[in-house]
Amino acid sequence: MSETAPQSSDCLVRFAGVRKTYDGETLIVKNLDLDIHRGEFLTLLGPSGSGKTTTLMMLAGFETPTEGEIFLDGKSIRAVPPHQRGIGMVFQNYALFPHMTIEENVAFPLMVRGISRSERSVRAREALAMVKLESLWRRRPAQLSGGQQQRVALARALVFQPQLVLMDEPLGALDKQLREHMQLEIKQIHKTLGVTVVYVTHDQTEALTMSDRIAVFNDGVIQQLDTPHGLYEQPNNRFVANFIGENNTLCGVVEEMLENGFCRVRLSDGHFATARAVRVEGVGAPTVLSMRPEKVHVEDYGPQHVNRLMGTVREVVYHGDHTRVRLAVAGNLEFTVKMRFRPNRPIPEPGEKIAVAFAAEDCFALDAPDEGTAAG
């Protein structure tokens, strides 16, 4: 785990042993310890029901931890009501007040802080200029498009210069193109203002593009907290490997532990493969090998690609810049390889038997599913 410290290393928010249950039976958040650094863009990523939104709501003050403490700037905020936390928040449905104009919406945080009307107006216009909507200040929210509404919500959350901004799936309701555009815009604003952002999403692409660090949630536990690069290149466990990016899995049993943190695994079809022993219990333990489709080579492999397996081509899908080949390899019928386009390179035909190769460094031996059944 390569947890590189971002720009500034001092800690703005600390979750210490936080647990949350609604019904007294199941824990939505189990024993959460998390430090959020000043100025970083941290994403809480996970499927629905993984506890990421509950974590955000506890930080915002709309939920209280059942156990544990949350510290903001070193002080416990258990007894601090939401309006005194000074945290800006952006909601998925924008939550712009329909009875106010755009300017009144953005000026709302300033109004409740007792700032004079004239100054309110000036600062609200500035915030609107930041999201490039200064000309729409007289409109009402219903007259704006979804993307514009979300920008207004952003301006409103930033106008009172909070040190921390929370975003709860803010782009979830936008179409793909607008979402990608807004991702860049939010990232730009984050860079310019240096504000700390905690961002909740279930979209892994969004998390990878925007974040300094990502906390991957599942079952109320942080599975891995790392930079996007670290998460993608070195997943800690099977859940993270499957959740982030595309992934091929092969089931097997650890045959032998090697030096330098490698191990030798006997696959379900009897072949052997060498992999990084990321999360294996030892010799004889079941394991799942994980590798990215772009790290598996079909023809252009070299001596460093020590693992070589035979596969039968099942399907070939042309994608323009690359061709995607689905194979049956060692019991996995969905084994996918990305072949980059090269002139004069023959495209394999379905039914053909071909060799696939990958380096031991690009293959991770991870935890096997509890049932011991074949994964993928």
Partner: protein, 407 residues
Amino acid sequence: MNSDTDPLKARLRRAERMRQVKAFGLIAPLLGFLLVTFVVPIASMMMRSVHDTELSAVWPQVSAAISTWHDRKALPDEATFAALAHDIKTSYKERTLSTAARRLNYDLRNGRSLVFSTARALPETADRWTDAVLTANPRWGDVETWGAVSRASGPFTGFFLLAALDRHRTAAGRIVPTPAEEAIFIDVLQRTFVISLAVTLLCLAMGYPVAYLLAALPPNRGNLLMILVLLPFWTSLLVRTAAWVVVLQENGIVNNTLIWLGIIEKPVRLIYNQIGVYVAMTHILLPFMILPLYSVMKAIPPSYVRAARSLGATPATAFLRVYVPQTLPGIGAGGILVFIMAIGYYITPALVGGAGDQMISYFIAYYTSSSVNWGLASALGAVLLSATLILYWLYNRLVGADAVKLG
């Protein structure tokens, strides 16, 4: 291009027309029903408030002759007096004099005795009918007496509408207020509006928290509470009002409980006064406030208040600045519904109110069924209807138009 689009337009129109005809066919029965049972009665009632032929039916000659009376400061001419004498004698014989006497009595104090005494005292023949009539009753020498005859001669009159507003017209045609000891309707109208407004505010004050709770509760428990709100709907209005008589009377539950608790020494009068009217009407009209409020509140997602709180608003500010403004359409709809229903209330104030707490509907009923002065009853109804329409128009301007924009 043009030859192509025109048949298309024509076809579209034809298709649209077919749809409209079908739609009209579906609502035609209801439209007919409403026309017969609602529009026609209201129109004929409005008509009655200005259409007046009672006098001209029994005194045709004087009704025609009075139209030549132009100098309203002097008495009418001899021909008019002669017509009056002829009409009085004819109707006296035909026993229709009481109709004329009743109609003049609406406008003139002791108009009835004036008519009958004149009829009894008139001679069979006279040289000058002016002198004969004045001898029979000297009140015919007053221009205001003739003003009343002129106002009653029809066929159209503003007399009833003015009377409904405590106004009347002098013989010279000026509109003046009715003397204070005879004026009642402005007071009644004022009382009707004050009681209705107070009931509306009480309903709002009590209904708002209930609607809020209903909207905030999870559906299963919310439904249970909703049934409790709707329960009064399933009981007859008369039964509910009678129940309040039982509860609020001198030996009723409320008084007995208060005495038992030692809060009061002897029973307090809670019924047959305004307290009773307020309690019973508020109870009966409460659901009409809660339901529109509930439907509006149900549509407000909790994230608005959350957003306000996270942006620094105290719970009170978030509620007043963000939540309440969004419920304004509900407050407006509930308020106008309760208010309009309240100003027409009749049975409840009649049963639980005192003599001084009767609302305008009571007087409409009185003039319709007891005193059979349909002109005045219709005029009061017309005043009530116009007040309601003006209020509705105001509501639409203030709340309705805004509510549409909020969307």
